[in-house]
């Protein structure tokens, strides 16, 4: 089994990238690989609770079915004032931790708008 690190730097608006990141992460996890998804920049918006609103047609759920480890850049979340709206299951992190986790991974792919 391998370890995969995915950097997601795309807003919910950019559905193609968020969808690709989510589906890649879930497929790898389902195969038994260790998967880390790190949300950077606009990517942190994907983790904020309540996306979709009453209309429910906005945002792609990143809930990892337990198997995908999801972290986000706390600095970016604070800038956007969404830090307190990110659910518990997602881990507050920093770019230095991301660097350490990349070094422990077998593959590192970025997904960006």
């Amino acid at each position: 089994m391998a370890a995969l690190f995915i950097l997601l730097k795309a807003a919910p608006e950019e559905e193609q990238h968020v969808r690709f990141a989510r589906n890649l992460a879930q497929a790898a996890a389902a195969q038994g690989h260790s998967v880390t998804l790190f949300a950077l920049g606009e990517g942190v918006y994907n983790l904020a609770a309540g996306l979709g609103g009453q209309h429910g047609d906005y945002g792609i759920s990143l809930d990892g079915q337990g198997a995908v480890r999801v972290l986000y850049c706390h600095y970016n979340a604070e800038q956007r004032a969404v830090a307190e709206r990110i659910p518990q299951g997602f881990e507050s992190s920093a770019t230095s931790q991301a660097g350490i986790l990349v070094a422990r991974s077998d593959r590192f792919v970025t997904i960006s708008a």
Binding site: K9, A94, A103, D106, F108, T110, S112
Partner: protein, 120 residues
């Protein structure tokens, strides 16, 4: 086999959006993992290495110039593509110190040497 080397190729312009700022900041974090990290400016990315780029944006925050300086101070190898500079009317003398100007074909070599490369 764990990732040991990473190459970032920045092709977007430097000031109008925070895109490249964010990815340069992220990439600095790779040094915490002791990864070999190289930074290449190509296409519109070459405007990042302009010697005269002001250190502050109009709103007073640090511009990418500061991140470029930080990268160089941490001994990150920084490259800019010669042909892309020339197409934009920029001369080697316009390029900030410690940035190496390379021909476009060298980019493929740098990519072959890195386990993971990402374009921005």
């Amino acid at each position: 086999m764990p990732v040991k080397s990473v190459c970032a190729v920045v092709c977007r312009p430097p000031v109008g959006s925070r895109d490249s700022w964010e990815i340069m900041r992220f990439s600095m974090g790779l040094l915490a993992g002791d990864l070999d990290y190289r930074l290449v400016f190509a296409g519109d990315g070459v405007y990042h290495v302009l010697e005269d780029l002001p250190p502050k944006t109009p709103e007073g925050r640090d511009s990418v110039q500061r991140l470029l300086e930080d990268s160089l101070d941490f001994d990150v190898e920084v490259y800019a593509v010669e042909e892309d500079l020339a197409a934009r009317g920029l001369q080697p003398r316009d390029v900030a110190a410690r940035v190496e100007v390379i021909p476009a074909r060298r980019v493929a070599e740098l990519i072959r040497q890195a386990d993971a490369t990402y374009f921005v």
